[in-house]
C-alpha cells in the first residue's frame, strides 16, 4: 500500500479516525487454518479487548475483514461479497502467508495466489501460522495506521474499482446459476 501520501484530513476526520482506531470490530473470514490462532488472541492470555477490538457477527457491523489463510476461488466470491457489504471506512487484514503468495498452495489450481489483486489489503500478518503475539503486533500496526489516516485501502478500492473488478472476474470466470444450491 501507499504509505507516504500527505495527510490531508480535516479535524473531524482525524477525530473520526481516532474513534475508528480504538474500536476495531472484526468480521473473521475463517475458511483457512489460521482461525485457530484467534481464540487465544481473544481470551485471557492476550485479551484483544484491551485495544477495543472484538469479533462481530456480520460484515455490516464490522470495520475489519480478517481473512485467515488461503482462499479458494469459490470462497473468493464470498469474501468479495462480504467486503462489499461492509460500511466504509473498512479495512482488510490478511493473515498468514497463503494470502500473500498462496503459501503451500502456491501451485493449486483452486486457490488464489495473491489476495491483493482482488481486494485492497491494508495489512498483512505474515507467518504460517502467525502466533498471537504477531497478530497483536500486527493489529497495533493497524491501529497506528488508522490513526495516521494511512489505512486507505477502501478508498483505493473505490478509485481503482474497474481494475479490481477485472481481476476478480478473470479469476472467477462465469457463474451459471442452476438453482438455489447449484451454480
Amino acid at each position: 500500500m501507499v504509505l507516504d501520501e500527505k495527510d490531508n484530513r480535516n479535524v473531524w476526520e482525524k477525530i473520526g479516525d481516532y474513534f475508528s482506531a480504538n474500536s476495531i470490530w472484526m468480521k473473521w473470514y475463517c475458511t483457512g487454518c489460521g482461525a485457530i490462532e484467534l481464540p487465544p488472541t481473544m481470551t485471557s492470555r492476550y485479551d484483544m479487548e484491551r485495544l477495543g477490538m472484538g469479533p462481530m457477527a456480520t460484515p455490516r457491523q464490522a470495520d475489519v475483514l480478517l481473512i485467515t489463510g488461503y482462499l479458494s476461488t469459490k470462497t473468493l466470491r464470498r469474501v468479495i461479497y462480504s467486503y462489499e457489504q461492509m460500511n466504509s471506512p473498512r479495512f482488510i487484514v490478511a493473515f498468514g502467508s497463503c494470502t500473500i503468495n498462496g503459501g503451500i498452495y502456491y501451485d493449486s489450481y483452486a486457490t488464489i495466489g495473491r489476495l491483493d489483486k482482488y481486494l485492497p489489503v491494508d495489512l498483512y500478518i505474515a507467518g504460517c501460522m502467525p502466533r498471537p503475539e504477531v497478530v497483536m503486533n500486527g493489529f497495533n500496526e493497524l491501529i497506528k495506521m488508522i490513526k495516521k489516516g494511512q489505512a486507505k485501502g477502501w478508498k483505493h478500492y473505490q478509485e481503482n474499482y474497474e481494475w479490481y473488478k477485472k481481476n476478480q472476474l478473470d479469476s472467477l470466470g462465469e457463474v451459471i446459476i442452476k438453482d438455489e444450491f447449484h451454480e
Partner: protein, 306 residues
Amino acid sequence: MNVMSFVYGFLVLLGVFVFQTTLTGLNRKVTARLQKRYGARWYQQFLDIFKALRKDSTSHGWVFDFGVIMALGGIMATVIFIPVAGFEAFPGLDNIFVISYLLAVGMLGMAMSAAGSGNPWASIGVARALTNMLAYDVPLMIVIFTLIFAFDSSSLSEIAALQQGMGILGWNAFRMPLGGIVAVIALLGMLGKKPFDSFIAPTEIASGPMVEYGGKHLGFMFILHEFMTFIEVSIILSLFFGGGATIWEYMLKYAVLYTFMNIISGVMPRFKIDQAVKYFYRVPLAMAIVQGLVVIFTGLGVTLWF
C-alpha cells in the same frame, strides 16, 4: 408542561447517557475480570458508539430508517418519564403502565426496522425477543400488580418514596421477598442478559435483530440499548429497592444492582428460547402468584414485617 420541562428532559437524557455508558464500560471490565482478562478501557463504550455513528451506513428502505428513529425516540421519551431520586422532568407521568408500554414503542420500532431489513435472521431474532418478553413480563407484571394493589399507586416515584426512611428492610425486595426474587430474575430477562439472551445469539443467528445494522444505525442501537438498560434497571430499582433519596444514593444503588446483574450473567450459560419460556412460567410465575395471593389476602408485606 413548560419549556423548562423539555430542557430538563434533555438534560436527563444527556446525563443518563453519560452515566449508563460509563457504567456499561466499567461493567465490561467487571466481566473481563470474571474471565481473568484485563478488559476494555472504561470509556470503550463511548468509543464504540461514536465510531459507529461516524461510519457510513447502509439502508434497506425507509422503514429501516424510520424504525430506528421511532425506537430511539420512544425509548428517549420513556427515559424522560423515569423518576430519578424523586426528580421528574414531567411530574406525575411516571405511571408504571405508561412506562412499560411506552417502552414497547421503542421495541416495536426496533423490531419493525429489523424485520424491514429483509434479513430472515433479524425476523428470527425479533420473534425470539418477543417470545422472551412474553416470558419475563407476565411474572413481573403480576408482581407489579401486587405492588399497585398494596400501595394504591401506580406511580414509580410514589412507590419508591414509600420504601424510603425505613432502612434496608423497608425495601419491597425484603418486604415481599418472593416478588423481589421474581423481579431480579425478570430483570435479567429484560436486560437480555444470559441466560436469556438467545435472541441476540451472535453465531447462531448472526446477532438477530442487529444483523443488518451498521454505521449510524448501529450507533443508534447502542445508544438505545444504554437507555433501555437504564429504564429497566430503574424500574426494578424504584419498585423493589427503594429508589434513592438523593441522586448519589440512586446512582450508587443503581450501579450495584446493575453490576450484580452483570456478574450473574457472566457465569451463566444460555437458555434456548422455549426453555426460557418454560422456566419463567414455572418458577417465577408461581412465585409471583404466591406473592400476590399473600399480599392480597393477608396483607403481609404491605407494612413492615416487624
